[in-house]
């Protein structure tokens, strides 16, 4: 099973970087992705992110989420076909001219998919290469309150636990003759036998988790700096390149608006 959004212990370019640099990386990629509507540019950006993953020795881990991205892309394109028709009609999905596939809708769907893929993959690079402890420490230094910090940490930490547990619950209910229902109402109804145990078990865990965090002094006591990540040459170089790229991008965008 592919573990969604987890730190992977490895050695690589991104693993050696300071979490702050990687946060800057996400920020720059995020800005470029959200401001851009140009498909060739988004493709180039996606290529650059994948090349960086390759350079960081984590391409395989980043590509683990391809399935999710492909599923989402189909959903996005279907939604835009229905909601944003425009441009020329290429063909129809259903006979009799129903569900026409238009160039405008395709364009919008592909743009959405590319943006989604770039953001997911950039975030993947960050999470795969950053120990949560370093992340918490960095965010703490940046002034993010420790409670919000812990919320983020715990959300990441429990994704695989919930995945494993959901599978066990699903199997237990299958053995009781459970089947996913038919039709919309049936489907909604069939969620309860899996979701109720999953949520109840998670809630009963919250109490112990809270006590554990408090007893470790995580919310109250000051931390001794230990094995701190330092900004090194790689960080400076990478941050420099990102800065230049962002400046160039903004300059180009401004020129386009003025011109």
């Amino acid at each position: 099973m592919a573990e969604i959004l987890q730190y992977v212990h490895k050695d690589g370019l991104f693993h050696r970087m300071h979490p702050g640099t990687k946060l800057f990386f996400i920020l720059v990629i995020g800005i470029m992705t959200i401001l851009s509507l140009d498909i060739p540019f988004l493709c180039a950006l996606l290529g650059a992110v994948l090349l960086l993953a390759l350079a960081g020795n984590i391409l395989r881990e980043v590509l683990d989420q391809m399935k999710l991205i492909l599923v989402m892309s189909v959903v996005f394109i279907l939604i835009t076909l229905v909601t944003m028709p425009g441009g020329e009609v290429l063909f129809s999905l259903l006979p009799g001219g129903f569900l026409p596939v238009t160039t405008g809708a395709l364009n919008a769907g592909i743009t959405l998919t590319l943006r989604f893929a770039i953001l997911i993959m950039a975030f993947q690079i960050f999470v795969i290469s950053t120990q949560p402890r370093d992340l918490v420490n960095t965010l703490e230094k940046m002034g993010v309150p420790i409670d919000y910090n812990l919320m983020f940490l715990i959300a990441l930490r429990f994704i695989p636990t919930l995945q494993v547990e959901a599978k066990k619950i699903h199997e237990a209910q299958l053995a009781r003759g459970y089947s996913t229902g038919n039709g919309f109402v049936g489907r909604i109804k069939s969620v309860a036998p899996v979701m109720v145990p999953l949520v109840s078990n998670a809630l009963s865990r919250a109490n112990v988790l809270g006590i554990t965090i408090d007893m470790r002094g995580y919310r109250t006591r000051k931390r001794t700096p230990f094995r701190e990540e330092k900004f090194n040459t790689v960080d400076r170089a990478f941050a420099g390149v990102l800065g230049v790229a962002l400046a160039a991008y903004i300059a180009a965008a401004v020129l386009q608006v003025i011109g």
Binding site: P132, R157, P160
Partner: protein
């Protein structure tokens, strides 16, 4: 040290005191083990002794708790108490916050005002004492239950307290995991730590325990050195399961009574490219009581999942009640095979015990549902609990409810994965008696367990697995 003087506590909306007028003094360097049936108040006692009741729980409290000479009330909060007492709970998953073993331990070490050199030194000594050195970069999801619990213990040790309180630390662990915890605790005791522990598995902790407390209904039934208590029969049956006479409840049916209900031939199964089962062949006949024993990872659970089509053979065949398990949907196989998983909390979702049992009956369209429901409840001694909320039942009752849910689906074979996990001696015996009754009705019972003693005393046939193979298949002598 910790003292409790006449402590009583009633949870908000509780109908009776969870602990009632208990007094206990835990001396420095002493190890006290508290045991008793589920619902006896053991967890509440841990919460009281660690000051958590005082600071985190509403409800009616009386009496006095002191921790290292200071009243628990006078500590400002849990972080200050944590300088004296550390805690380990039964669910290892809930105590791991980070994504590698080392981070988990560091998270506690870094908040104690130590110098970096001291942190480094303690980290390596804790990794050594808990035998986690080779696992230090692993994420929680890549650890076994026993390893996770050792990480929770390591993080507790990182707090550097003299007193360690453990609430059923081995409840969810197998033999190997339990042994790992016991050996770490023996080391800690040798280092002079004070240990207060609640447990069911007295026989595993024999060498550790100075004093034993037996609780029932919120009170201390007996307290003293183990040697003075184990002779009391009513105490002994809680401490160590007594399965005597179980096998003779019903005479074992003559072997091969009829055609096999489950027939496994040359079964291979791979997880990814790791072989989990290799060349397994096995027949299970009506009226048989079979125990499948073996260590963690020997393939026991993988094998039984094939019986109901949750896993499909890579090679070989599994025939269930004349049907090819590979080609038959799970919902169809559920008519023939009932599977009770290890953790009952993975199945409960309804508001009442009766609704929970009805789920399977309705799914399979069993005739005379009301009658079947009543029979399943009474067989599992739950008739009085039919309107209760399943998750509020005791561990022993929840296990029996899980069996009732599967039983009500009227399978020809009932398969149980570690049915006595987390149960005390008496509750374990109750489960075995239910299984014996089912065998008496002509059903086949298959029980997966790592408890060789229980297998030898209750089952008529023992199948031993090792590294994905059946290494022996013998009949026990009645």
């Amino acid at each position: 040290m910790i003292t409790l003087e006449n402590v009583s506590y009633r949870y908000q909306r509780g109908e009776r005191d969870a602990v009632s007028d208990v007094s206990l003094a835990v001396a420095p360097g002493e190890c006290i083990m508290v045991t008793g049936p589920s619902g006896a108040g053991k967890t509440t006692l841990c919460m009281a002794a660690s000051g958590i009741l005082e600071h985190e729980f509403e409800g009616e409290k009386s009496g006095r708790v002191t921790i290292n000479g200071r009243d628990a009330k006078d500590y400002p909060g849990l972080p200050e108490i944590a300088a004296h007492v550390s805690l380990v709970f039964d669910d290892p998953e809930a105590q791991l916050i980070f994504t590698t073993v080392e981070e988990e331990i560091l998270s506690a070490l870094e908040r104690r005002g130590l110098s970096p050199a001291e942190i480094e030194e303690r980290l390596s000594s804790i990794l050594e004492i808990t035998r986690l050195g080779t696992l230090k970069d692993r994420p929680p999801y890549a650890l076994s239950g026993g390893q996770k619990q050792r990480v929770a213990l390591a993080a507790a040790l990182a707090l550097g307290t003299d007193i360690v309180i453990l609430d059923e630390p081995t409840a969810e662990l197998d033999e190997e995991g339990t042994a790992g915890i016991v050996s770490v605790l023996l080391d800690l005791k040798a280092h002079g730590k004070t240990i207060l522990l609640t447990e069911h598995k007295y026989s595993h902790f024999r060498d550790l325990v100075d004093r034993l407390v037996v609780m029932e209904g919120g009170r201390f039934r007996a307290i003293g050195p183990p040697s003075s208590l184990v002779d009391d029969r009513s105490v002994a049956e809680i401490l160590v399961p007594d399965f005597s006479g179980i096998r003779r409840m019903f005479p074992a049916q003559s072997a091969n009574a009829g055609d096999p209900v489950i027939s496994v031939r040359d079964l291979d199964y791979l997880y990814g490219d790791v072989p989990a089962l290799a060349g397994v062949s096995l027949d299970i006949c009506p009226g048989e009581f079979v125990a499948i024993v073996g260590e963690n990872g020997s393939g026991k659970t993988t094998l039984i999942k094939h019986f109901i089509g949750l896993l499909h053979a890579a090679r070989g065949s599994v025939t269930v009640d004349g049907k090819d398990a590979k080609a038959t949907p799970v919902s169809e196989l559920a008519h023939s095979v009932g599977l009770v998983f290890q953790n009952p909390d993975h199945m409960f979702f309804a508001d009442t015990v009766a609704e929970e049992v009805m789920f399977g009956i309705t799914n399979l369209g069993i005739p005379h549902p009301e009658e079947v429901l009543e029979k399943a409840l009474s067989r599992c001694r739950l008739s009085g609990a039919r309107d209760l909320y399943p998750r509020w039942l005791s561990r022993g009752e929840r296990q029996r409810l899980a069996i009732a849910c599967v039983l009500a689906m009227q399978p020809k074979v009932i398969v149980l994965d570690e049915p006595t996990t987390g149960l005390d001696g008496r509750e374990s015996r109750e489960v075995m008696e239910i299984l014996k009754h089912l065998q008496g009705e002509g059903r086949a019972v298959v029980m997966v367990t790592h408890n060789h003693q229980m297998a030898a005393e209750c089952a008529d046939r023992i199948v031993t697995m090792k590294a994905g193979r059946v290494v022996s298949d013998t009949r026990t002598v009645a």
